[in-house]
Symmetry: C2
Subunit: 253 residues, 2 copies
DNA sequence: ACCTGAACACCGTTCAAGT
DNA sequence: ACCTGAACACCGTTCAAGT
């Protein structure tokens, strides 16, 4: 970096806005603006969030918002950090138990505001709330023998999993135009469609799976089992890694 | 479904456009249009892809494109299926070896056209090329004792991992505005910034990790090790699942 | 039937002018 | 200093008119 001054956006994100300048008092603040934008996104999706719609909702001209944020992208970033609740307390809980809940909560959070999926860049966390989640995951892994880098990688893999699972659930639900357009509303519908589309010669394994009824799932699209499945895959992997570390074998790649 | 006629978009995707109608011969075709759009996206990012820019590139008025596609979203979907190459042949290879390569190739593919990250909805695959990748993963898992549903879940988890890792690499590289804005160009920069931002009382574990040098990684952002790390976590989990199945214990959730 | 050009209803962002 | 209104350079999409 070699640059002590934080960029304005980060200052805003961390609530370090400098002392109030003189002149007329501001009519708005970032919390109000961000909350209005989130409300719009929850109600109408990200398409419902324009500078104009947000400004109207807070009772101001669109251009006035540029007194508070640098660009619409800034606003999107504020929104995606703001939706995060506080993580649960890991103290005294077994790491696996805690991280399973930690991951599920992150997934549920994203599902409650599924528009974040269109924003999130999967970047390393920069906002105060996301960093709090990272902090608690690292704390939960204390005493496992993993080093800090490994702990961070574990947390990152789990966060990634939470996001992708949320994206899958969302896409299967009502997210994807092509699906609703094709009248696909359940895994069974999807299976039927694949039966029609897949040439068994070019797609032998997938054809067999589809024709064998791999997509039954009568009621809907996604079982909660599917979330558990991938999560357990990852946590089993972590458990093995911890066991390896504990047994003293530090085999590296 | 209960509806035999495929929606126009799926017909286009699967090359099942009905016999040519009469009237003037079309000047264009979907392959040409899609290729032009991909070229624009590769060169200028997704922002460079507008109906106008694509139309200009293929020598036609913007509105003429609506003879070929229903909407811009259709075009984006065609683009994201078109970039997929053919998957490697799994026959005779150990499943773990194959799936490791399969996952890495998917990640590299996404990195070569990183704009797909802004499109992809992580929906179950519908395009001919993505379904081919799924087919090969299922084939690679033949003889492991996993059932079709489990195989599909494994493939889905690995694809999700490929996408999230690509997103992380991309974000760390040049993707995220806030990072470049803050002058963050390496993991070390990121670590320095966090030292300044994190209050050790509120973020005890993260502060300790950061101050302990968890983000050294002198040269750049991401080691290839980080990709291997998460991948091995998942594959270790799969291996354990297979072992459990082989030993006859069918413990369910 | 394909393609064009004008038109519609939007965008995000700038900038000078008001208070 | 905050806020407004006009203006700019775009969007995606529609529709009637040309061939």
């Amino acid at each position: 970096m070699a640059q002590d001054r934080l960029p304005p956006m980060l200052q805003r994100l961390w609530g370090r806005e400098p002392a109030p300048r003189r002149g007329p008092r501001p009519r708005l603040d970032l919390v109000t603006i961000t909350a209005a934008a989130i409300e719009l996104a929850d109600a109408e999706g990200l398409a419902g969030v324009s500078m104009n719609s947000v400004a109207t909702k807070v009772g101001v001209a669109a251009t006035a918002l540029y007194r508070y944020i640098g660009s619409k992208d800034d606003l999107l970033m504020l929104m995606s950090d703001a939706i995060a609740a506080d993580p649960p307390d890991p103290s005294g809980r077994p790491w696996r138990d805690y991280l399973a809940e930690w991951t599920r909560l992150q997934r549920d959070l994203v599902l409650k505001h599924s528009w974040v999926l269109q924003i999130t860049k999967f970047a390393p966390p920069l906002g105060p709330r996301r960093l709090l989640w990272l902090d608690r995951a690292l704390a939960a892994l204390d005493g496992t023998g993993l080093d800090d880098g490994e702990k961070i990688n574990v947390a990152s893999a789990l966060t990634g999993y939470a996001l992708t699972d949320a994206a899958i659930v969302e896409a299967a639900g009502t997210g994807v135009q092509e699906f609703t357009e094709a009248g696909i509303e359940s895994a069974a519908d999807y299976g039927e469609l694949l039966v029609e589309l897949l040439d068994p010669e070019r797609y032998p394994a997938a054809s067999a799976a589809v024709r064998g009824g791999a997509f039954r799932g009568a009621e809907g699209w996604i079982h909660d089992d599917d979330f558990r499945f991938g999560l357990d895959l990852l946590l089993d992997g972590v458990e093995q890694l911890i066991a390896r570390r504990a047994s003293g074998s530090h085999g590296g790649g």
